[in-house]
């Protein structure tokens, strides 16, 4: 038996052992995806470095591990989630806490806000709003070649459901806090479905945290539908400990004239792999995909972005930055696909990275597949050190070297942060990034959960 199938075997077994309980708790529609999904997973397995899009990321160290539990919720588990309050005092949001991928039962599983907006548990929404789920669930998670997406579809039980009907807009952002907490090494999955109908607007903040020091592996899938003329902003802040592995797959499907921004701020985490798929499905849709990561020790952060220009006259912009210290490693893979009839496409991509040591390493790779001729496209990538001339300039004004270094790194990072669409969060993240750069943000869950 070779290594790959051995690792994958564990998850196939997990499926076999738990599918009864999982299916029992889900609706027939959600269950109808499972069999085909596990078959595909069994075929594809856990991605290895032999796969082009996972070339720079070795998942083995986290996947070759005997996770003690595959979490099935019990009310007692939710006490922490219930106690949780976001400490970002000036951040006024509709808060949702997911505990190990599950929506706590405590406060009612679905909330209806003004204007017909619904937020709550996906599992519950599948029962209560089957027509909405059937219209959107599983439609956008489209990358057939990544076994982990199928693994999620096969075994997932719950996650967050957000529905913003035509013309509506929640008064404040929705904040999803993903907590993982267990006294055993745990493998978690969850699934979010966000529907923003035509002329609707919505901002969603996702915070990823670990609360206990155990080894965690999380495999999360989010599907987003942004209807005609809609506006959607997604901000993900990741702050997990070094013993945690987080894999996210986010699929954003955009119709005509819609505007979407996605921002991923990775402050901390052992192994992080974010896959962000943008599909510009209707004319004049616009998307911006931002990312910033700060890595040290032996952390590894990999961002995979794919922008699919499926319609004419759409615009896209990718900006990803990384700061790598110690022996940390990182990767960026930015794909731009322009379909044959997607004339008038404008697509930009920029990836800049700073290596603070000789041992840190960054791999960056653009991937352009352009089949239309009226296309404006640019891409650029840099991997380098901090600018010594700038450092000297600052020192020559009396700023000591350590402080000057910090200011330069912060300035570098701020180019991403300044794009965040939620102002209160922008200031907060500026502060967190500064703390992180000073080396003060190294504990798990020190971010929005405990730091103030």
């Amino acid at each position: 038996m070779n290594g790959k199938s051995e690792v994958s075997e564990f998850f196939s077994r997990l499926y076999a052992e738990n599918i009864g309980r999982i299916a029992e708790g889900s609706t027939p529609f959600i269950n109808s995806f499972r069999k085909e999904a596990i078959e595909k997973f069994n075929l594809l397995g856990v991605p290895t470095k032999k796969m082009e899009s996972y070339r720079y990321t070795n998942l083995e160290s986290f996947f070759r591990h005997d996770y003690q539990s595959y979490f099935i919720p019990d009310v007692s588990h939710f006490r922490k989630a219930e106690d949780f309050r976001c400490d970002v005092t000036d951040l006024d949001t509709h808060g949702i806490v997911l505990m190990n991928g599950f929506y706590p039962t405590i406060n009612g599983k679905l909330r209806e806000l003004q204007g017909g907006i619904i937020i709550g548990s996906l599992n519950e929404a599948a029962r209560k709003y089957p027509e909405l789920i059937e219209k959107h669930y599983g439609r956008y998670a489209g990358n057939d070649s990544d076994g982990l997406i199928h693994l999620n579809t096969a075994m997932v039980s719950d996650g967050v459901f957000i529905y913003v009907p035509r013309g509506a807009a929640p008064a404040k952002p929705v904040q999803i806090v993903n907590l993982v907490d267990s006294d055993q090494d745990t493998f978690n999955q969850h699934r979010n479905l966000i529907i923003v109908e035509e002329n609707a607007r919505c901002a969603v903040i996702i915070c990823d945290h670990t609360l206990s020091p155990q080894r965690f592996l999380t495999n999360a899938v989010s599907e987003v539908y942004a209807g005609e003329n809609s506006s959607f902003d997604l901000i993900r802040v990741q702050n997990e400990h070094n013993n945690a592995c987080k894999i996210t797959h986010t699929f954003i499907h955009q119709e005509r004239n819609s505007n979407v921004t996605s921002s991923i701020i990775t402050l901390h985490g052992g192994l992080v792999r974010n896959n962000t798929y943008h599909r510009l499905n209707g004319e004049r849709a616009d998307c911006s995909s931002y990312g910033l990561f700060l890595a040290d020790k032996w952390q590894h952060v990999d961002n995979f972005v794919s922008v699919d220009h499926a319609s004419p006259n759409c615009t896209s912009n990718q900006l990803f930055k990384g700061v790598l210290d110690d022996v940390s490693t990182g990767a960026f893979n930015g794909r731009i696909y322009v379909a044959p009839d997607a004339q008038g496409t404008i697509a930009y991509q920029k990836n800049n990275n700073i290596l603070l040591t000789d041992e840190a390493r960054m791999d960056t790779k653009p991937q352009l597949e352009i089949y239309a001729d009226d296309v404006k496209c640019s891409h650029g990538a840099t991997v380098g050190q901090l600018d010594n001339n700038a450092l000297f300039y600052m020192q020559s004004r009396g700023i000591d070297k350590r402080q000057a270094l910090l200011m330069l790194m912060f300035g570098f990072a701020h180019e991403v942060i300044q794009n965040l669409k939620v102002e209160a969060l922008r200031e907060r993240i500026d502060g967190l990034v500064m703390q992180r750069l000073r080396g003060e943000l190294s504990q798990c869950a020190s971010c929005m959960v405990k730091c103030v």
Binding site: F392, M394, R397, G398, I399, G411
Partner: protein
């Protein structure tokens, strides 16, 4: 105030300063002129503490201390200011943050309390007016996208904020229009005090009409080959450097 003795320095193994001696006393203004590539900026870089320049010999004493042993930031806090020939762009670092940090570092060094945000902005406004710098520039990243002239004015603005004891201005006049030249010169003159000194590196007599030097030096091929009063600048303006070259060649 500043005493340079037999200074020898190089970059990447190439000798550039080949034995420079220079005395600057409190209250004096020295002009340094000389053809392109003669080592003027290299000398300025040594004084400011740039570590890419290798010191091969000689000594530099500033206010009684061994300047070459001091970190660049300490030199600044002790009153040395270098106006860069080519000011550096620093994307992502705002002028306000940059200057606030610098000013407060200087204050800390002097045992003064940090400036409050409003006091700092007041100080900044005052100095901006003095150098007639566009208010908007102060809200941008340091030098990013500034025009050549704006960058030079920004150097004088920073100098006004930090009030140095010894200002070294490396071609701050190059690339300035007539009005800007006057503003820059006024900025320098206003900071002039009996205990402050300046070293003004320039190619043009024009600036020296505004900032009248006590001494003019000609730096040629890493050496100071001529030192005289302000009339030397006029002579150079008229005759160029050829006669100096010949003089030097004849001596060798």
């Amino acid at each position: 105030m500043l005493s340079i003795k037999n200074l020898e320095a190089g970059i990447n193994g190439k000798m550039i300063l080949k034995g420079i001696s220079l005395e600057v006393k409190a209250g004096e203004i020295h002009a340094i002129m000389g053809p392109n590539g003669s080592g003027k900026s290299t000398l300025a870089a040594v004084l400011a503490g740039r570590d890419t320049v290798e010191i091969r010999g000689g000594s530099v004493t500033y206010m009684g201390n061994d300047l070459l042993q001091m970190a660049p930031e300490d030199r600044s806090k002790e009153g040395i200011f270098l106006g860069f020939q080519y000011p550096i762009e620093i994307p992502g670092v705002s002028m306000v943050n940059f200057m606030k940090t610098a000013v407060n570092e200087h204050r800390k060094h002097k045992g003064l309390p940090q400036l409050s945000a409003s006091d700092f902005l007041k100080l900044m406004r005052e100095k901006k007016e003095m150098v007639e710098i566009d208010s908007k520039l102060a809200n941008r990243s340091v030098n990013e996208g500034f025009s050549g002239g704006e960058k030079k004015k920004n150097e004088i603005f920073q100098m006004a904020m930090l009030e140095p004891k010894l200002a070294i201005l490396d071609e701050t006049d190059s690339g300035l229009d007539i009005d800007a030249l006057r503003i820059v010169a006024n900025g320098v003159n206003r900071l002039r005090r009996p205990d402050n000194s300046s070293i003004v590196i320039t190619h043009y007599q024009r600036l020296l009409d505004y900032i009248v030097p006590d001494v003019v030096h000609v730096l040629y091929d890493g050496r100071i080959v001529k030192t005289a009063g302000k009339e030397l600048a006029l002579e150079l303006e008229e005759k160029g450097y050829d006669w100096i070259r010949k003089e030097v060649d004849n001596q060798n």
